[in-house]
Symmetry: C2
Subunit: 414 residues, 2 copies
């Protein structure tokens, strides 16, 4: 007998989370085992507060809307940062909400924390012999999930960083003066995004000249001498640094600013902004710090086609697995070959990914600690390939309408 | 009898200056009156230092290279910021260099300062009865040139700003908390780029909620109360502010308004960063400042097709005019109609543009001083239309090789 499904999104946005949502919806619409498709607005928090959207009504027989969903960045259903409290009361409330909507299949698209939610909820449901399949769908620009070759969302952010470095390299190449550009990439503990800037390099481009990841203790002195050495060779030196670089005592470089505000509190500047001051003081040439910030995770106008395709397939695979009876798993992929690039989709116990963090292997970082090896390049290269067709209107990408979220958000006014 | 031509680029980069270069080269290659095509590497400074590139050899019978030049951002020939000293000695040196290369046609692609160079040089050459035609080709992301409906480079930067605002709007829409995003657009005295963020708005998007231009004196108190009012209505408020906003005494809001470049222009950075602190202190909600900085002028992966086409045509029109005997002019365009959007190309005395600045008409700014009118929207809309075919390779735009500039730059080591 057919049951309903519910799906939600959680954590930080990426350019392709909605492609996973589109893949799940598309498969579910064709699936006899699934009757109605519901969305949790603002994730598990929305479920608890009965903030539910009828996705069947919104997307059925609307192929162009579903197509635009695929290339709309961030999250059509909104997000939350909600950690299950582990109280029976909370689980009972969740289950009673799921029963109210006659849910047989529960899907959650997210990163480590969201996989933790999937893990805990699926265990509670199994323990209590409730017939609901709980399946995770991975996403995160940080690429730090265990149990997957690379996470959906990472490739598009990686492409953005490589693009930004290339554009900056062309911008600065025109000047006949010594200059340093410091580009700060996201990544608190894992340097995957900073590393991906290496994709800018080819037979015509040497930038980025230096890459610093949080996996290697960061020395400001070495950073300065590295730059000085590169300035001997090039007029324009481009440096990519992870926001999360730390000194040998584990202290964030971004926390080393000695500026104080009017109350005498130490002001935490960005890592790039702090290092800009260091270069100004110790080298004295022209220096700019660029912090693409959220632009790197929400660049819906320039995603990787490989990323969109994989995100969509992972949405589909999750629904297929749930309908086949799996629970407590997440959809994932392994790389079968690099040339040609092929992947294989499967499911993995979600406990593998819950709250774990995959950092860059140390052997993919050069001995000098300021660059990545060719193994990293080979790993990254296929991920950013392919330019998707983005629907445009009046010169801008034509995304789906998410303005309904603002009404929803009124509920959470603070 | 056929003569040679020389062309240079000057000032700050845009996404489409090379399209003007491509348009000029393409026309000159077919033109009987022009024998050889030379490039000044690093503008007039390169000419003085005999840093010359043979463009005929580089681009003749290379249609795919010329095509990639069209969509390569920044400047293939490099830039300089060189102000003519007005000494006869300097003019004589320039003319002797031009005679050395048997130049009959001199072209300079640039903004106000470059048009000043064209103006002075053409006057000196005319006064001394030298047979060299001197013609300007306009460019600037700031859109502040007089004597032209809008400048090449502006439309692509405008598109970038509108895109950034839209992507940020989708990124922040997912959260159920009050937040303010402040996006700082380039523009010292003219608010055209900040104004162009209005293009993000359509039936599905209300962002940006507030727009501040340097044409209207900026009040920090009003800024705070404007944001407070918008936060009553929306959870997420997106504000676009020109880097050049000033208080009623003409003092830049930017925290560091005391550095000047060699033209005496005050160097600005940190308007958004300063206003972020203001919002944190006086409103206390989550706030982010985004400064796309050079990314907005070098976004070669997402130019406007209209912009590329017009930039290219203005290169062609300049060469055509010079060959027809014009000098002391620049190629320009006027808008003939908006629906359908059509323009007409012609030439204008370069003195009209030299050192003048076109700011936003006050009647295109709303009474409230924090938004633009529909006249501005109608003016901007056609400019960002059209998505060009960008050649891609391995997932990134395949620009022309400019690494030769680095060797050239060694000469100017400082």
């Amino acid at each position: 007998m057919a049951k309903n499904m519910i799906i939600g999104q959680s954590g930080g946005p990426t350019a392709v989370i909605n492609a996973s949502l589109a893949g799940a919806i598309e498969y579910a619409l064709e699936c006899n085992e699934i009757e109605n498709i519901y969305g949790m607005v603002h994730g598990i928090q929305g479920l608890l507060e009965d903030n539910i959207k009828d996705l069947s009504a919104h997307f059925a027989n609307r192929p162009s809307r579903l197509n635009r969903l695929r290339t709309t960045p961030a999250m059509f259903l909104g997000s939350c940062r909600f950690k299950l409290s582990n109280s029976d009361e909370e689980y009972e409330k969740i289950v009673s909400q799921l029963e109210k909507y006659d849910i047989g299949y529960f899907f959650y698209i997210g990163g480590n924390d969201s996989m933790d939610t999937v893990d805990k909820l699926s265990k509670y449901i199994a323990k209590n012999n409730i017939d609901i399949k709980v399946v995770g769908i991975p996403k995160t620009i940080d690429n730090d999930l265990m149990g997957i070759d690379h996470t959906p969302g990472f490739a598009s952010a990686a492409k953005y960083i490589a693009l930004a470095v290339r554009n900056v390299a062309y911008d600065t190449a025109i000047y006949s003066i010594k200059s340093v550009h410091i580009i700060e990439a996201m990544g608190r503990n894992a340097g995957w995004l900073a590393a991906s800037s290496v994709l800018c390099r080819d037979s015509k481009n040497v930038a980025p000249h230096l890459i610093y990841l949080p996996e290697i203790p960061f020395s400001v002195d070495k950073f300065v001498s590295d730059i000085k050495a590169k300035l001997e060779e090039y007029n324009s030196v481009i440096v990519v640094v992870s926001e999360g670089v730390r000194d040998e005592n584990g202290k964030y470089i971004s926390a080393r600013g000695d500026k104080v505000d009017k109350f005498g509190h130490i002001m935490l500047s960005g890592t790039g902004a702090y290092l800009k001051e260091v270069v100004e003081e110790q080298i004295g040439c022209k220096v700019r710090a660029l912090e693409p910030s959220v632009l790197q995770r929400s660049a819906g106008h320039t995603p990787s086609l490989t990323d969109i395709t994989e995100a969509q397939n992972l949405g589909l695979v999750a629904v297929k697995a749930a309908v086949a009876g799996e629970s407590g798993v997440f959809s994932t992929l392994r790389r079968v070959s690099n040339k040609p690039y092929t992947v294989e989709y499967y499911t993995e116990r979600v406990s593998v990914a819950a709250n774990a963090e995959k950092t860059v292997p140390l052997e993919w970082i050069t001995q000098s600690g300021n660059d990545v090896t060719n193994d990293m390049v080979e790993y990254l290269k296929p991920l950013v390939r392919g330019v998707p067709q983005i629907p445009y209107r009046d010169g801008l990408p034509d995304y789906v309408n998410v303005s309904y979220l603002d009404k929803a958000k009124q509920k959470y006014k603070n």
